[in-house]
């Protein structure tokens, strides 16, 4: 395994914020690109304030936000005021020496600043630029305001998600954000491939609504072939029966099981001590199992509810049956399979301490590593370093700092404490309401990351 990575030498200028864009550029960074993020003194990434760890908003809360940290590890950062001509000047000098610009503003914002693709291609003719937006850069819905929680429904996905007979349901995350981030990374890699071959750059318009629509592709075809919209049916499938999510021993513990054919069903039945099910006329064929699915679910639940979710998974898998434990946010950090596959890397994150952060690129390779080489950047941490690299001297850098063009502290319109108060209740209240399952005071011991904090920020 070499420390050379495929995108070593590629520089990415990252103007994205929140979720989709930072996911895209995090993948490029883990593949070796030098990703330089930009925040502005008057406009820091809102996720720097969303979850404020062990912190009431005093001090520098923007350096504690887990939401931000997990998506922005492995990047450098400048805090640059681009509302001033001097800021734009610095930015364009950087673009001239870069390969990719990524942005996720509302359409028209970049052009309004004179930083549209045509403008930037004047500075760097073979530039690749990607814009990630809710509904794309043109079309009647271009200017619709878009948050991730609205785009999953807008892609059609919610219309086929939900309990049978119930309303459409959003997933427990802004689904199109990570999905668009993954797609965006592949889009940039496709454009880089073309540039390697021809020397030509290009512009990529990624609509997050469109990115996720192919997931409902079968429903789109069903509608065209049979004039039917696919109904919501919980965890069941047209292709497998039984398929479902079954209760296991313990509070709110579950496992999924899916039998794709008669042989798998017979194996499941034997494992559950009910070999006779395979010849029971109610269950013997897949059509019969669809017909008697509720009854079968009740019988399966009797077996699963006596067992630990992992025992259910391993016992059924040993017999060749598709099954998995339903993991929560703490389980994924402890699962031995994820650990063996390095799903999480422990980074030394100033000033928080050692923390596991997930990889956003799931693909693993044998020739190179994709673990982050550095933690998530502090605000403006690399202002001077980057400016020196493009030829600024000490005096010029001092002048930019004196003029407030670069900075390391935000100029927020509202104090951090107020934002913290406005955005979150004490977590105990969430536990009372059932929105949080629990809070483990000793979570750092449990995760093996206690007692090794990074040195506090100066």
């Amino acid at each position: 395994m070499s420390d050379q990575r495929p995108l070593d030498g590629v520089r990415v200028i990252d103007l994205t914020h929140v979720f989709a864009g930072p996911t895209c550029t995090r993948i490029l960074a883990d593949l070796g690109a030098d990703v330089i993020r930009f925040e502005a003194p008057m406009r820091i990434d809102v996720t720097r304030n969303l979850i404020i760890t062990d912190n009431d908003g005093d001090g520098e809360p923007w350096h504690y936000a887990s939401y931000f940290i997990i998506r922005n590890a492995n990047k450098r950062e400048m805090m640059l005021d681009m509302s001033k001509p001097e800021g734009i000047d610095v930015f364009k000098k950087l673009v001239a020496g870069s390969d990719v610009v990524a942005e996720s503003f509302t359409p028209r914002v970049m052009e309004h600043w004179g930083l549209g693709y045509r403008d930037l291609a004047q500075v760097k003719p073979d530039l690749i630029m990607i814009s990630l937006s809710g509904y794309g850069q043109y079309g009647p819905n271009r200017d619709m305001g878009a948050y991730g929680m609205g785009l999953e429904p807008a892609s059609g996905l919610s219309s086929i998600t939900g309990y049978a007979g119930g309303p459409p349901v959003r997933s427990g995350l802004s689904f199109t954000d990570p999905y668009s981030g993954f797609i965006g990374a592949g889009a940039v890699l496709t454009a880089l491939h073309y540039r390697r071959r021809t020397g030509k750059g290009q512009y990529i318009d990624l609509s997050e609504q469109e990115a996720a629509i192919p997931i409902v592709g079968a429903a789109l075809i069903e509608q065209q072939m049979n004039g039917e919209n696919t109904p919501r049916r919980g965890n069941r499938s047209d292709w497998s029966a039984p398929q479902g999510c079954y209760p296991c021993a313990g509070a709110d513990r579950w496992a999924v099981i899916s039998c794709g054919n008669d042989a798998e069903f017979a194996a499941m039945a034997r494992t559950m001590g009910h070999g006779e099910w395979a010849s029971d006329e109610r269950y013997a064929t897949v059509l019969a199992r669809f017909e008697h699915h509720d009854e079968l679910d009740a019988a399966i639940s009797q077996w699963t509810s006596q067992r630990d979710m992992y025992d259910v998974m391993h016992a059924l898998q040993a017999a060749g049956v598709k099954a998995a434990a339903v993991l929560d946010g703490s389980d994924v950090l402890r699962d031995p399979h994820f650990a063996a596959r390095k799903r999480f890397d422990v980074i030394d994150q100033e000033p928080v301490g050692r923390r596991p952060v997930q990889r956003h690129l799931a693909a693993r390779f044998t020739r190179f590593e994709t673990a982050p080489r550095r933690p998530s950047p502090l605000l403006g941490e690399h202002n001077e370093e980057v400016l020196r690299e493009i030829g600024y001297n000490d005096e010029q850098i001092a002048q930019l700092a004196a003029d407030g063009i670069i900075d390391t502290k935000p100029r927020l319109p509202v104090p951090g404490q107020l934002i913290a108060m406005a955005l979150k209740l004490p977590y105990e209240r969430y536990v009372e309401a059932g929105i949080l399952q629990r809070i483990d005071a000793d979570y750092r011991e449990q995760l093996g990351i206690a007692g090794a904090d990074a040195t506090p920020a100066p």
């Binding site: 609205g150 609509s207 596959r341 390779f365 020739r367």
Partner: protein
């Protein structure tokens, strides 16, 4: 015709189902030459449907037609030695090999990475399986549902008193496919820069877990375990699908929807939308945290307006008030959507057996090198003669392979 981005990339693809085929569709629609190697009975997606009139027909499976545009199909039994010989001849002229088989199957077929890398040191060997090629669960069977179960996303989707709910539409498989596609492109970039092929190993469960928004992070940073609560984002309410007079909308007031300490004397967009300015001073308008806990009370405040207005009016009014409300379209709505039509998101692709179907063109637009279906999905084995004769097989040899059921 405009140039395509990946015309120099040659792919041999023995994968079946959704994940692998979606990855190679994204390569094929961008110009890569993809030879789909199907078992004599065909990719199992040909048996999954949907089918016209719900009548199974391997040449008219909607899922297959969607996932295999711009490819050519060869039938080959790679589980037998003669099939493996043919496959290796194909790999000699390929940049990328794609499989969705588990490690033990590939070993049994003599097609594992460790063997093939000796013969084809520049080959990108790309594998997507439910649990990946390594780790204690590598041999486990799975599908989209097992991937979503492992991801922590499913645990956090659905109602608190009911079972966790998977997102619809086989998302675990698509996530695996997209990650495999990006991984293949990364391995090709590495080959161009640093030399050598590679093993790209994608687990569908890893791909789904990589999409986690903050479940693991909340534990890793605060020891807090989130659980499903009507699939709600923990940062405030309302940000969810709500019922209206003629269906559903996504109610998202956004950063400026409610009064804040900075602008509490201005009538907020939410009070204007709900046509009741007195609501502006309501405690639930003033405190995001309280709304999250006492959301049922909030729903009662919104119900009179929502239950008497249709989705179009609600979304358009909210957007005019600069709140990012959204629609909840069904497949039929998407196919008729004016915005998607203007962006030419769907293309009519004519298929000899299934007629013309509107298929999504691409999940993003590239200004210089379009990404769109070049041809309909292939009939089973329609390129057998073409591909094998390119490999130097004679008509007689083709006949023998065919008689023995290898092709």
């Amino acid at each position: 015709m405009p140039e395509r981005a990946l015309t120099d990339v040659r792919v041999v693809d023995i994968s079946e189902g959704i994940a692998g085929p979606y990855a190679t569709k994204l390569l094929a629609d961008a110009g890569a030459s993809v030879t789909k190697v199907e078992p004599p009975g065909g990719d199992f997606a040909r048996r999954l449907g949907p089918f016209p009139g719900h009548t199974p027909d391997p040449e008219r499976s909607g899922l297959f037609l969607l996932l295999n545009t711009s490819k050519r199909s060869v039938t080959l039994d790679v589980s037998v030695a003669s099939g493996q010989v043919v496959l290796k001849k194909m790999l000699a002229n390929a940049d990328v090999f794609v499989t969705s088989e588990r490690p033990s199957t590939l070993r049994a077929w003599g097609l594992s990475y460790d063997g093939l890398r000796m013969e084809f040191p520049e080959l990108v060997f790309a594998q997507v399986t439910p649990f990946g090629a390594t780790g204690p669960y590598a041999e486990y069977a799975g599908n989209s549902l097992t991937a979503m179960a492992m991801s922590s996303i499913m645990y956090n989707t659905g109602e608190p008193e009911r079972e966790p709910l998977s997102t619809g539409g086989e998302p675990g498989a698509y996530l695996g496919g997209v990650q495999l596609w990006a991984g293949i492109l990364a391995a090709l970039a590495n080959r161009a820069r640093n030399g050598g092929g590679d093993h790209v190993d994608v687990a569908m469960c890893d791909a789904a877990a990589a999409a986690d928004e903050y479940n693991a992070a909340m534990y890793a940073f605060q020891g807090a375990v989130r659980r499903r609560y009507y699939s709600r984002h923990i940062f405030g309410y309302p940000q969810d699908i709500v019922e209206c007079a003629d269906g559903h909308v996504v109610m998202i007031p956004g950063a400026g929807g409610f009064p804040t300490p900075l602008n509490k004397d201005t009538i907020s967009p939410m009070a204007l939308l709900l046509e009741d300015v007195d609501l502006n001073a309501h405690p639930l308008f003033m405190s995001p945290g309280e709304r999250m806990i006492r959301w049922r009370e909030f729903d009662e405040l919104a119900r009179p307006y929502l239950s008497t207005h249709g989705a179009d009016e609600i979304v358009q009014t909210a957007q005019a008030l600069r709140m990012p409300f959204a629609y909840v379209p069904y497949a039929s709505d998407l196919l008729d959507d004016a915005h998607l039509a203007e962006r030419e998101f769907f293309a009519g692709v004519e298929h000899p057996h299934a007629g013309t179907l509107k298929l999504p063109v691409a999940p993003f637009k590239m200004s210089e090198t379009p990404l769109a279906p070049l041809s309909a999905a292939p009939a089973l084995g329609e390129a057998n003669a073409e591909v094998l004769s390119q490999l130097g097989y004679s008509q007689d040899e083709l006949g023998v392979l065919s008689d023995r059921g290898v092709i």
